[in-house]
Symmetry: D3
């Protein structure tokens, strides 16, 4: 069976200040290897879906450690490249209550950012795969990466894979002279499944969306512009500070908007990767329950609720755990 999901994107070494410390108070940094698309692969692998992560790392011990981490989550990294000169990094200070978290990116000139079109044999790589996932972070890095994304999308499309994307807007990227809207639409036209929000509409897709427009209106407009889009997913936060908020998922499918219940996440452990865990939940749901939009959004939302309680970028919740929460068991009683 060709269930395998291929993800493509940059792996980063995250260096976080421990506990609630500020950078200047830290005498160690905690390590986590992650990356938006790889996080999706790792979550899918934890759900039992074969997943592959295509990235590039330097040929040194840090590059090896990054791939080793994904291997430990069961993700195949055999298509990843050892090339370029450095691993991308980011430094993270977790927020608390009224103090927001902080990220310092240090990813310029990374192995991944140095990738050139024509390097990866996409046809070979997609041979045993049914799904390709990428995100708006890669084309945000530089024109070469935008071109690599395009060649990947064409190959995936030619081979009939389902294609999903996370718009993933990052204000600190897109520094190479192009606006997202000059780059993204060409890429999005190949996509079947998209994760994004109202705020991305004009910025990344060039489709105006007003505060008062409903999600249905916005996503219908997207679908009109990008006719291949069948599914659009989104998340929403309310009553938020850095340690707690309410969290809800949405799924637009064939003109219909499904929403999950609103969960109260009272004690956030780590919100990094919450969107990726939602994306993985959507992909899992679409693969397993493609006729039941409500179940898809419920699964993805419950999955991403659990991610908020797990340190690191990756959602290590299992299908059984997600389903237990979907069924309403929020009491947190220790099973013994």
């Amino acid at each position: 069976m060709k269930e395998k999901v291929i993800t493509f994107g940059e792996v980063l070494l995250r260096l976080s200040a421990p506990g609630n410390r500020r950078f200047v108070q830290s005498d160690v940094f905690e390590l986590n290897y992650g990356g938006s698309e790889g996080n999706v692969a790792a979550s899918l692998s934890t759900f039992g879906v074969p997943a592959s992560y295509v990235t590039a790392v330097p040929d040194n011990e840090l590059g090896a450690a990054a791939l080793s981490a994904f291997n430990s989550w069961g993700v195949d990294t055999s298509f990843s490249l050892k090339s370029g000169s450095r691993l991308g990094l980011y430094f993270l200070e977790q927020g608390a209550a009224l103090r927001p978290g902080k990220v310092i990116y240090d990813r310029s000139d990374s192995s991944f950012a140095s990738l050139q079109p024509g390097t990866i044999d996409w046809k070979a790589l997609f041979q045993n795969a049914s799904w390709f996932h990428w995100s708006g972070i890669s084309p945000a890095l530089n024109p070469s990466l935008a071109a690599v994304c395009l060649e990947a999308l064409k190959a995936a499309s030619d081979l009939g894979l389902t294609i999903s994307a996370d718009l993933n807007y990052r204000a600190n990227l897109w520094k190479y002279g192009k606006n997202p809207v000059e780059v993204m639409p060409e890429l999005i036209q190949y996509c079947d499944v998209l994760l994004g929000g109202k705020g991305d509409s004009e910025l990344m897709l060039g489709i105006p969306a007003k505060e008062e427009n409903s999600l249905e209106q916005v996503f219908s407009a997207w679908q009109k512009q990008f006719p291949r889009l069948k599914t659009i997913a989104s998340t929403g936060r309310a009553n938020a500070n850095a340690s707690r908020y309410q969290w809800q998922g949405y799924l637009w499918q064939e003109g219909k908007l499904y929403s999950s219940k609103q969960y109260e996440i009272t004690h956030i452990v780590d919100r990094v990767g919450a969107g990726d865990s939602y994306m993985a939940g959507i992909i899992y749901g679409l693969i397993k329950n493609h006729n039941d939009g409500q179940r898809v959004v419920d699964f993805a939302t419950a999955a991403s609720c659990l991610k908020h309680t797990i340190p690191g970028d990756v959602n290590l919740a299992t299908v059984a755990e997600v389903e237990k929460l979907m069924e309403g068991d929020t009491g947190g009683r220790i099973s013994r």
Copy 2:
């Protein structure tokens, strides 16, 4: 004075994933030695009540470390046995917000589970004691332990000790072919004080209890069946997730039900042992204030609230701290 409380049960080494980590994310496990009945002894000792813990550990460094921990809390372990081949273990992953905690038991064939009737000289052991406490965990292990409990209860009863039990139902135990209801009633008939809840009624005592029955009705039925019972205690949770809930204590005495105020425990540090801390509070209260049911339930509930803020299985709160909370000081101001 013969105030000494004897407790009997299995000591376990708890190995917990640190912080909010999942098992697979941990590169250390934190150690805590505990056990339902020993936790009661340690809390009583911290309250200033002489307490003894009768258990069995292997004759190796881990067995010695287990007893050493109880000694550090002032609990006498001189009657504990060094026998059998291994210390029972359990692995704990603490929950957070919408993710429940998880326990993996690894206690088969432990030193305690290998105890045989006729091994312990209960008469000698009860010589300077006024109270005996046990729980439904011991008879859940195997028929020998059920028999050991019975011999202990007969001896304690003969010597006129007050006897308390915690029903302590554990779905993962009771695997040896008998249902609790085939074993527990014979043992409960020796008890003066019992900790349990509506859910245990049919399962462990064979007395049907419906959702709509009041606690008064249920506990009256228990008392009818087990005429020696003078006091029945219970706890209740509301609005729960793994990190916070509301907590309330109940005490039924001579036909009257007392309830504590409902506390809001907004940030749970460690809920393991909460029931044991409540049991210890009840025993303390009955020893010190036997005429004042309200004060007993208020003390026990406040004690167990404090337990939720203390890592490990054992409630290290003092009488002064419990009384300060009983008196309504919930503001958490640092005293300095």
Copy 3:
């Protein structure tokens, strides 16, 4: 420009039980160097205001480490003395939910407490300064320190510095035979700016204040008694336990009371030094925005909200971070 703020007081080594552990459960203590007045200096330095800390430490490695910590925050300690025989200590157990924090002071006979009048050349020290800050902790230690405070105040007053004080009542101090009210009024008469609350009024200033009196009434009475007072600041807590509360700041200036919005601090990391961070915010505000009482109280309150999320005694929040919170951004979204 003579913007430099001089603070004077005792530096303490804080030894805290890690995480939520009780003292008896700890096998390490975490170190933080702080002190009410030094905390003010460190916060001001982090705001970009040149600040100097005048204290006394023993001439050993611990004394050096204490000054080194303040140097790392950019505070000048070149006027601090190496004298006396020991560094003052305090042991801290952080509270959680319904369990209050606990402080054990061990500061008797410290280097600072051994200071004698006539030792410090206040004139030289105040040469390039515009502001002097002290607190009620110093005169609480012993008569010599009260005398040292007086000589400092006279010198500062002669040189035209703005003088601020934090009343900082500590029940465990004031043990040398005098009540605060016998000592403080003489010192307060030199002050332009005061931090205190209704509860301090009779106790420290000898001015009766009833529960039903408004803050306006109380602070007007203070101003009448101490005519040099131009600004009086205060804070208030509501709905508190050890892990969360609501927090609000007040500022009385020329007969007018300004109050900040009430912030909900849902997950307190470290409340020690919250008052000092508020004091620093007030001083910063008065230096930068002396005509806008509302902005001063808003800045100081937002600053002290952030302090509650930062471990240690010192507020390491920057002006930019405080201003972002003042502007209403409480959502805690990670900026990236």
Copy 4:
């Protein structure tokens, strides 16, 4: 090419007292997953040789974590079973200077020890493999495991794999009523490569060996008894305490004994797995340099020297690192 090496044996969770602490002084245990045969697989994988580990783990989070660790080292675990009820454990206290290390085994009734003959499809498993490695630990557990070893050996032999074994005598095993000499010879007759020492000769193989016999004499006698044996490897320690010793490797091949230089390991970090790292070095050498016995023993000895400096059971040294040490670079200069 069919280079793949299959190893078979028990995976254990090692729980070690941190640093130089004794068990009773520890409040955490450090985790490492290992097992003699799996350690060989992990070292080979680090050398770039495809390796597979066949073991059994319980179907719970600890079992998953054990396999995850081997996956992180690049070892294929897809043939491992999820069966049985518990993961085998051992507790380790590292020695220092004159204090020897200490191991407490807790591996009875583990998932692996519960394996039955007929469960594993050895033929399928050996399909793409050229080498099979096992050790004397498995038949030491119980008769079923001895039988499983025999069926594996027959299958491997039928399929023409090279077979290696480590005698691996453990005094605390072999408790089921048979002496090693009643079990091992039947299994050893299938082996091409053996790791053992003079002390094992009579005990495990039934071939008397006196103190004064040379290694050549002993290994010639082994070869006579087990004609399939082509290569016998051994190691020696001298001037030892728990923190330092001299270490030397030996290799007997076709009647000739090769010895490595004697290395001085002045600061041992972790000696557990040293023999396994030597075994992996021998297998690597035989695969890569089968005509050069001296190079094989030099590589294996240098590899195992590096293992002594790496925490955990597994040798994470690369071929390049081993070869640098073989070439005489012992100066420890940091390359930068």
Copy 5:
């Protein structure tokens, strides 16, 4: 049987910089509770000899924690006093190679140092004891403590206990205006067993000893001066730096000097308490093997070698471990 050993002295909280850090580099201090005489009690208790520690601690959580630590080692602390205002402290920086360790004492005005003669009921306390141990640290603190030592010695002597002392010279104590030689001789005359060295002879006992005098000559002179002395013990170091040295024990008994073999301690973990562990070994040996001086010195020396490998002040080596080392097993092989 009256085997119980009573020890008397100050308990201290030791706060150590972790690993090889300097004080200024530490952000935690590691905690150990110890004290020369208590260390002797804890080692004896670990050897199976009932031991009691008489000390004084403040009535706060730190005092409780100090006694709790000794309880965890099986030492009876029921005669210890809760009095005075603070626990004595010392700060420790471990040395390494050519950098010596460093101690900062902070023990003035401790609970123990505040003890007054007439407070302790020595008669009652010595009722079930056969041995009393003290050291030169107590009379070094102040005249009151010297007087308390004298009253203890008189009582012990009257009741026929064997009395041992460790001269334990500390340059940083003896600050109250008396030289040791003005105080110690009066106390030493009650002693049967003494631990000291050539360097203490003139300084503490007023008996000149030249470099060229043999230990036999020096100890004979001591015995002449203090006729009750039957046994004198001593230790020697050679070829020392902070991380390794050679260590040897001596025992003078009835005119004969026994010496142990010289051990090479190549990797010192913690040398604090080495002398106390030797003292405990001597007491154990004298109780168990009083006719065999050679065995006594061999046991004590092996015991103290093991202490050097154990973190903290207390020797947690068992009799079996000591005897294994005495029998020459220095190879450090892990037993498994």
Copy 6:
């Protein structure tokens, strides 16, 4: 007095694998801020010599933390620039015994490496200074830095400062198309004091030096080529592995070679920065004892011996500690 020493070079954040772990085994990295020239400044400051560090850091929290670390050691950083986009990093794996340490540099495009000539006002900066120190690392980065070094040297020379340099060859730098010998001689001609070794002679200075040449011969040749050189310092290692070696210092002055005693460093804690600590010792010695070459070399060698026992890049040993070791006290006895 114009004693102030100015150092110029790149500050790096060092991220080290904890303990003896390999990179892939680490889940935290320990942080140290250092840099060859800054390490010299910090050691001098610890010796009591006013020192300033001129470097460049990005205007973010990591840049602030880097300067904060130097401030904590008493180093003035007020001339450092906030410019450029990233802090240079290096990753360190400490070696042990036969396993060498490993450094992965990640310093390209750092703030410091982006410095341009004409940016720094050297004249102003050198106003109150008597000494300028730089090293061969800066011109190894790129042509701009080589030009900045040259402008600094000219300015320092014009203002009459003493100038010292450390040749500091790094094989992994010098990647911009020039060999050291094309760049360094022009810079060295301004120097009064040089640290280097025989191996640098041809490589960096273009002066051939054979194995059989004595240090006197080599350094005389250097002096001939660079007539301003008055003092040349060097160090030597023998019998080395990653955990221990012998260490000796040399000083050539006016035709005479002084050598220190050879120290045995049996347990190396951290060898990074050993050369910098030696350089600082030489500078200190030249400032304080300029007529006594033997004392200078003895001080510098003892200082650098102590560095090997201190974690991090910086030597935190004081003058008193160095002098105690110079006087022959290598016994490592704890002073108490």
